[in-house]
């Protein structure tokens, strides 16, 4: 009898845990509000293809000197890097930030930020402008 009760308790416990995990998974990753009017592509398109856009743009920029802002990583970061309470930018690869939250959710490792800047440069001219950079 005791054994049955314990088993039932454990079962209900694991069921509860399972539900909690499902609920958490369903809520999805949270991304800080981006600046700018709208993204350069529809959200669905970006979710599926942003890596292809970035890869295409990186070759165009590096090999052919095409320096438009659309699909550039610098462009993404300029809109998507959030500012903390101290008024400073939070790196986009910090937990719960634009890049990292989704990548943690999908368990995909990013290798962009061992080389690329994770915050926009304060006071620097935005990519694509003719100003001093």
């Amino acid at each position: 009898m005791t054994t049955h009760r314990t088993t039932a308790f454990l079962l209900s416990g694991s069921l509860f845990l399972g539900l909690a995990l499902t609920a958490n998974a369903l809520s999805g990753p949270k991304i800080p509000q981006a600046r700018g009017e709208k993204c350069v592509e529809p959200v669905e398109m970006m979710r599926r293809n942003h890596m292809e856009f970035l890869k295409h743009k990186r070759d165009a920029t590096m090999r052919w000197g095409i320096r438009t802002e659309k699909h550039s990583l610098v462009g993404c970061i300029e809109c998507h890097a959030a500012k903390g309470e101290d008024g400073k930018y939070i790196p986009v690869n910090d937990p719960d930030q634009a890049c990292r939250s989704c990548h943690d959710y999908t368990a995909v490792t990013m290798d962009c930020f061992s080389c690329h800047a994770t915050v926009p440069k304060e006071g620097a001219a935005p990519a694509g402008s003719k100003g001093d950079s």
Partner: protein
């Protein structure tokens, strides 16, 4: 691509080019002309072989002990002093030459010579080292495996390997551990009609030892000067046709 794009915009582009030229000349100290001719490349235009970027270095004007070009380069690209000079990357270094016979000392900046036939690109096993069609030699760090074969092949010792994890890189100059890097001729600036950081610093310090421009344009300041004065390529015997030339050595 460049000839067919936006034909209706040409008048405006010419106007902007002229205006840019005027601004550049007006803001620089007398006798120093920072930009001879602003090349109007739109951001969406690809670079072309009509341009060959080059630099002419007047060692007579290059002061011994002056390090302004190196400092400007380090600051522009986020190269920091870690206190470990054996492994710290350097994109420009000052070299001192002493004539054994006369004792005459010459100081000059040495960096990637942006060869027309770059040995680094020849030996690269992955295609990461490449020459852009406008003559700038770069490393594609996305496919660089850090083998350092290019560093062995470069006769100018111009390349560095990044040994340590980096943080807080410049958005316009991605750099990372495990890849090889070198002077980029500041392509991020040049693509927008600006001068490389070292050239700007040298002109700003009133030395004017560095002239940067398009070697393919006979009207550019660099072409006129290269035609008028005697200059040479370092290790011209290797027949690499370097984009960087030196006067006074």
């Amino acid at each position: 691509m460049s000839t067919t794009k936006r034909p209706d915009n040409r008048g405006r582009r010419r106007f902007l080019t002229a205006a840019g030229g005027v601004t550049a000349v007006a803001t620089i100290a007398p006798g120093v002309r920072l930009i001879q001719r602003v090349l109007a490349k739109e951001d969406d235009q690809a670079v072309s072989s009509a341009v060959r970027w080059g630099m002419l270095i007047n060692t007579n004007k290059c002061a011994t002990g002056c390090n302004d070009c190196v400092t400007a380069c380090n600051s522009e690209h986020g190269l920091r002093d870690t206190g470990r000079p054996d492994t710290d990357p350097q994109w420009i270094r000052k070299v001192k030459l002493v004539d054994d016979q006369t004792g005459k000392e010459t100081s000059l900046p040495m960096m990637c010579q942006h060869c027309e036939k770059p040995p680094c690109a020849d030996v690269c096993p992955t295609g990461a080292s490449f020459r852009r069609t406008d003559g700038v030699v770069l490393v594609d760090k996305h496919i660089c495996i850090g083998c350092r074969y290019c560093m062995m092949a470069c006769p100018y010792k111009a390349r560095s390997f990044v040994h340590e994890t980096l943080t807080d890189q410049r958005p316009w100059s991605p750099r990372g551990k495990g890849t090889v890097e070198a002077c980029t001729f500041c392509v991020h600036r040049v693509d927008r009609g600006q001068q490389p950081a070292c050239v700007e610093a040298c002109a700003g310090a009133d030395h004017g030892a560095l002239v940067f421009g398009n070697l393919n344009d006979p009207k550019s300041e660099i072409s006129k000067r290269a035609k008028a004065v005697s200059s040479r390529q370092i290790r011209a015997d290797l027949d690499l046709n370097t984009g960087v030339r030196y006067e006074g050595v």
